[in-house]
Structure formats: structure tokens, C-alpha cells
Amino acid sequence: MRALKWVVVAAAAIAMAGLAGCGEREQVVVYKQGKYQGKPDQLPWNNAPLAYGSAKWTQGNEKSWEDELKTRTQNQNEYVRIDH
């Protein structure tokens, strides 16, 4: 009787261990953005416009720099450059 009890306990333990294999884990890698360890970079709009360049913006003003680049981006649009 005692041996049978041990067999039942062992069978139950094996069954539980087997069930553990049925567990579902998240297989998709969750990317975590690393914390940048390097040197700080400067902001492009904090530079003065080149003296001989065509691009003009107010030094330190992000909006004026972005506006300048947006205007320049439209140079890639021939429907704006050439009247269609």
C-alpha cells in the first residue's frame, strides 16, 4: 500500500512537470531602447547659417530652421519647381 502511494506521488510529480512544458512564454523580443552612453551632440539649429550659403535661419530657433529645411525639401518636388 505504501509503495502504491509513492508511485501515485511520483506519477503526479511527473504529470506536473509535464504540464510545465505546456506553459506559453512570450516569444517576441521586446526591444528596449538603450541609454546613450556617448558624448552629447549639438543641435543643428544652434549653428549660425553659413555666410556664403543660401540657407538662412535664426540661430537657436528650431522652428525657423525646420521651415528652412521644409522649403528646401520642396526643391525635390518638380511639380512645385516647374509649373504644371
Binding site: 526591444y31 528596449k32 531602447q33 538603450g34 541609454k35 546613450y36 552612453q37 556617448g38 558624448k39 552629447p40 551632440d41 549639438q42 543641435l43 543643428p44 544652434n46 549653428n47 547659417p49 553659413l50 550659403g53 540657407a55 538662412k56 535661419w57 528650431e62 530652421w65 525646420e66 528652412e68 529645411l69 521644409k70 528646401r72 525639401t73 520642396q74 526643391n75 525635390q76 518636388n77 518638380e78 511639380y79
Partner: protein
């Protein structure tokens, strides 16, 4: 806030490799390193041949940044993915993680020693004083700090390659698709449908545009 992106129009690219050459010249890229290259599929098949110019796409959720063991990558305020070469150990993890094969490694010496990673900077230099010689030597020209856009796109003869704020170039591309009546296999919410207008539902959360 601007979010800088590239967009290549496969209907227009003629595989002239002008972008590749301009990039190498403008940034003084070393031998064996191509920050930008042109990929052609169905080469020689009439009507099915398509070319596209590929470089770092400056991902909003960049895998290179996620896998870097020394955390040498950063996003600039205008969405450009850059890295610090002083910190890079040249392990190559970023190369395996990048779906575009953007990270490049200069190989030198008898045993092909792998140098520090080099990639497209969107002509935005790196973490050195802007427009300095040190910045040019390590990362190439900083055209954004000069109020200019990447040269590869600005000199593209067919204007297949567009560079600039994602919303602006998406508008240019969408206008093109509407006018020519084909190439509507566009991807991305803003590219396909335009920016949300008043009273319209915004793009679903997590969607790329």
C-alpha cells in the same frame, strides 16, 4: 518637430548609382564602405525590373540601437539615428540587427580587422562639434547644420530618392502617385492617406508613417 526620413520611388530610380557616388564623395567614405547602395530586383526582366536606393532608414524604433552592447546610438531631436565612434567596439551586432544592411565596417590589415561601424548619418555628422574637422573625419559632412538636406537625395537626377521631414516627403510622393495614376502600392498611413485633417480620426496607435 521634424522627423527626418528617406523615401525611394521605385518607379523613378534608374539605378544610375549617382546617390552612392555623391555620398562617398561628400562624406569622404573609406574604401570598402558604402553608406548607400542601389539594389535592383528582376534585373533584365522587361517591365519587372525595379531599383531602389538603400541606406540607413533612421528607424523610429531602431533595432541597432536596441542591440548595441555599449549603447553608442542615439536619436537626434529631428529623428536621425547617429552613433558615437569613440564608444563603438565594432562588434557587428548592429549589422545583424539591421534589416537594411546599413551598418558597414571598414576592414584593414592582413587579417581583415574590423574597424568601428560606419553608416549613413543623414548628412548630420555625429557627436563632435558641428562643422568641425573632427566631425568630418569621423562621420562626414554635417549638411543639416548648414541648413541643407542629404546630398544623395538633393542631387538625384530623377528625384527618385527623397529626403526630408517625413510628412513633407510623404506629401510629395502621394502627389506624384495621384498624378501618374500608378505606384499606389504605397505603405505607411501618412504616405497613403495624408496627414489627419480636422474631424478625422488619427492614425492607429503604433502605426508607422
Amino acid at each position: 518637430m521634424a522627423r527626418m526620413k528617406f523615401l525611394c520611388d521605385a518607379e523613378r530610380c534608374i539605378a544610375c548609382n549617382g546617390c552612392t557616388t555623391a555620398c562617398k564623395n561628400e562624406n569622404d567614405v573609406p574604401w570598402g564602405v558604402n553608406r548607400r547602395r542601389v539594389v535592383t530586383i528582376n534585373d533584365g526582366v522587361i517591365g519587372a525590373e525595379k531599383s531602389i536606393s538603400v541606406a540607413c532608414m533612421h528607424c523610429s524604433d531602431a533595432p541597432c540601437m536596441a542591440v548595441c552592447p555599449v549603447d553608442c546610438f542615439y536619436h537626434t531631436e529631428d529623428g536621425v539615428v547617429l552613433h558615437d565612434k569613440d564608444l563603438c567596439i565594432g562588434c557587428g551586432y548592429c549589422f545583424y540587427a539591421c534589416p537594411f544592411g546599413a551598418p558597414q565596417f571598414p576592414q584593414t590589415g592582413a587579417f581583415g580587422l574590423r574597424g568601428k561601424m560606419d553608416k549613413c548619418t543623414f548628412c548630420a555628422g555625429g557627436p563632435e562639434p558641428d562643422r568641425s574637422e573632427a566631425e568630418f573625419k569621423k562621420y562626414g559632412r554635417n549638411r543639416l547644420a548648414e541648413g541643407k538636406l542629404p546630398l544623395c537625395a538633393e542631387m538625384c537626377s530623377t528625384k527618385a530618392l527623397l529626403a526630408g521631414d517625413g510628412d513633407v516627403i510623404a506629401d510629395i510622393y502621394r502627389d506624384r502617385v495621384v498624378r501618374r495614376g500608378k505606384g499606389s502600392e504605397v505603405w505607411g498611413w501618412a504616405t497613403a492617406y495624408g496627414p489627419p485633417k480636422g474631424g478625422q480620426k488619427p492614425a492607429p496607435q503604433g502605426a508607422k508613417s
